[in-house]
Point group: C2
Chain length 196, copies 2
């Protein structure tokens, strides 16, 4: 074929990721990504059709990895573990977590998903919905809007809130947070089989 590639796609993603984590989403220019690995901007556009596609690929890769672990715990219907998953994942993935949990998706990628990755993004969302619905049925014995609301609050919204403050400060979430999230989870999720 032709010439051997000097840079891998992964290198471009990593460069973008590091810049987001260190200087925020607005600092991720195409030129800065290239510079970070010593590549010319032309090479960036040889691999990616646009800046959006880099950011979208980066975000989706991280989100898929995060969600995979979460769904496995949901599958095991382990309520407390699910509520603590975000915290543990953040500790294990400090750079990725800023991208996924600190900034709004729209800050990284424009309002709309690029056409080329829309299916991938929709699949991700759909999978999460299914996983949570299945969990709710298993855990509460039946589905109800109320049960769903409690689950989303305890397993997603509160864990996210517990972590954001520390992501902003660029610090590992302290141990005490686990206890607060656990207590909240027990309280919110203890109301079982409440049909309405």
């Amino acid at each position: 074929m032709g010439r051997k590639a000097h840079f891998t796609n992964e290198q471009f993603y990593t460069a973008a990721m590091n810049r987001v984590a260190e200087h925020g989403p607005e600092a991720v220019t195409v030129a800065s990504i290239a510079e970070e690995i010593g590549a010319p901007v032309g090479s960036v556009y040889h691999r990616f059709s646009s800046r959006e596609m880099i950011m979208a690929g980066l975000w989706l890769g991280i989100a898929e990895s995060f969600q995979k672990g979460f769904l496995e715990i949901l599958d095991a219907v382990d309520c407390i573990q699910a509520s603590l998953y975000t915290l543990q994942w953040v500790r294990a993935n400090p750079v990725e977590s800023k991208i996924l949990l600190l900034y709004r998706r729209e800050e990284l990628i424009g309002g709309e998903w690029p056409e080329q990755v829309r299916e991938r993004a929709e699949a991700l969302e759909q999978t999460l919905r299914c996983g949570i619905t299945a969990f709710v049925k298993q855990y509460f014995g039946c589905y109800s809007p109320n049960n769903m609301q409690r689950t989303v609050f305890a397993l997603i919204d509160v864990p996210l809130a517990s972590v954001r403050r520390h992501l902003e400060d660029d610090e590992t979430p302290p141990e005490y947070v686990d206890e607060l999230v656990r207590e909240t989870c027990i309280t919110i999720m203890e109301v079982r089989n409440e049909n309405i």
Copy 2:
């Protein structure tokens, strides 16, 4: 003196606010602010030294108003009411709340506060810290890091989390959220006088 002003500062702030709420922070160009009220861009710069100063003034005004109400409730040492304050404020101020609670401050204003409003911003932060510390002492009978952590979690982080999802969807937070926040608050804040 000279010619009578055609536009008030408030009009510029309101224009900026509406654009943020409707199209997001990146859509707030100086030209768009001017256009929204039928003013020329020159007039904008006659009032404000920079785009940052408009956004900073807007943000600070909203934050001060939000915080004033919050501190009053803290002053009354009303724990549950404090945890529900954010929800009620969001319902009463749907546009302002997107600016204060949905977007990161850095999305609206650059990384650094403009020199001219830094004191105002620092005073705001300082006042909040004092208010919370005083509350902790009153409520728990003594100050401890643990008590402070629980308070911040129950009265700030969780209420914020409970509301964000709905701000994104541009909808009023539903009634059921109050119940979840209340239950969480009771659980987290019931451990009194635990010195360590």
